[in-house]
């Protein structure tokens, strides 16, 4: 049976990963690195870029090979492809900055187990042409990085009183140490989700009020 493919690339292909289907805030995928490495902005940025790189490379390869991979062993194939690119990233980061490598620790290698990347390979790259897959993956990667940054900024600002290592509040600021520690990660992400729920609810209420007003 031929698979009907829709090749048109719209702005939505790119933008869906950033807002409507944001991997972290909407789909709750790949949570482990999101919470574990966002205790400072620089770690969050590095993790976001590394994940985006692996996502782009692996979905390129999966998309190119989508007609050759037997259906029965597809998950195993995707995992091996992802693991290859993660190994490359791991060695590259180690070569560029040993300090960053030590700060991120095992979490670079744990990108393999990031369900967002496998999910993209399974749900998107295996069904779409190269260009469309790339556009979508880029959007997803950027969305993931934005989510990591939005957590990293809040946690570093409150937990350390600094941003990218520069002190922001002066000497008198008493840092909220709990924000850098594990509980802070859960609580900040929970607070972001609350905020998004609130915005969504308010928008729905506004549209409802407008409809009533016009009719």
């Amino acid at each position: 049976m031929p698979i009907i493919e829709d090749h048109t690339i719209t702005a939505d292909t790119f933008l869906s990963g950033i807002w409507k289907e944001n991997p972290v805030f909407v789909m709750l995928l790949g949570m482990c690195p999101v919470l574990a490495v966002t205790n400072s902005v620089i770690n969050a940025l590095a993790m976001g870029l590394a994940t985006t790189f692996v996502l782009l490379c692996s979905s390129t390869l999966v998309s190119l090979l989508r007609n050759f991979i037997p259906k029965e062993v597809r998950i195993a194939t995707y995992i091996v492809i992802i693991a290859t690119f993660v190994t490359i990233t791991d060695y590259v980061i180690q070569a560029i900055s040993l300090e960053l490598y030590n700060a991120l620790g095992a979490f670079i290698q744990l990108i393999v187990a990031n369900c967002m990347i496998l999910g993209r390979a399974e749900a998107y790259a295996s069904k779409n042409r190269l260009l469309k897959t790339l556009t979508n993956s880029l959007g997803m990667g950027i969305g993931f990085t934005i989510a990591l940054l939005s957590l990293g900024i809040v946690r570093e600002l409150l937990g350390n009183g600094s941003l990218l290592g520069f002190s922001m509040f002066g000497e008198a600021f008493q840092p909220w140490v709990v924000m850098i520690l594990p509980p802070g990660g859960f609580i900040v992400l929970g607070a972001w989700l609350l905020l998004f729920n609130w915005i969504k609810e308010r928008n729905a209420a506004l549209t409802l009020a407008n409809e009533r007003g016009t009719s």
Partner: protein, 193 residues
């Protein structure tokens, strides 16, 4: 207790550095399957069983890799072993308990992408544990995972009856709960020193 003793390693993985609540590993099943107490319990058991198998295999594989000096293949080997272990658990469960198999649904194959298991294998390699230490580390981590997911499921079952504002329903309140649980687990920090 010395930090290298088997009992301390077990305690460390179980409570002090709990895999879920202090090291953020295995959050997908922790948030996804913790809705009901008995599914959470069996998910915890399945995960810790896979942890035990893959940790032991990872130990021997690492010996081999170091012997042949091909450590760069470590990640690929580990993930392949984990995927096969998960397949084994899945087939066993399908044969002996089809109800449970259906209840766990998509989360059973997803144990493969559970970072707690890969994390366990990687951490024990980085820390250069010997065989007994690896065994203690993996049982501790498995027990810790069960503890965390069962606690969370118990809390969420109570939450069903609570009167919540609509805005905070779903993932947001679960994350807040996890944050509070994690705060409680920080109290174990000085234990055993």
């Amino acid at each position: 207790m010395s930090p290298d003793s088997v009992s301390f390693i077990f305690l460390n993985a179980f409570l002090i550095n709990n895999f879920v609540l202090a090291m953020f590993l295995g959050l997908c099943p922790f948030l996804g399957v913790s809705g009901k107490l008995n599914t959470a319990w069996s998910m915890g058991l399945a995960t810790s069983f896979v942890m035990l198998i893959s940790s032991l295999s990872a130990f021997f594989i690492n010996e081999l890799l170091v012997y042949f000096q091909i450590e760069f293949l470590r990640l690929i080997c580990y993930i392949a072993v984990i995927a096969s272990a998960v397949q084994l658990v899945e087939m066993t469960m399908k044969k002996f308990s089809p109800t449970l198999f259906r209840a766990l649904g998509i989360f059973l194959p997803l144990i493969t992408t559970n970072c707690a298991i890969l994390g366990l294998a990687l951490f024990q390699t980085f820390k250069e544990y010997d065989f007994a230490q690896s065994l203690a580390y993996s049982t501790g981590a498995g027990a810790g995972f069960i503890l965390a997911i069962v606690l969370m499921a118990g809390l969420r079952e109570k939450l069903e009856l609570a009167d919540l504002p609509n805005t905070s329903k779903g993932a947001a309140i679960s994350l807040m709960l996890a944050g509070i649980l994690s705060l409680i687990f920080m109290g174990f920090a000085g234990l055993g020193s």
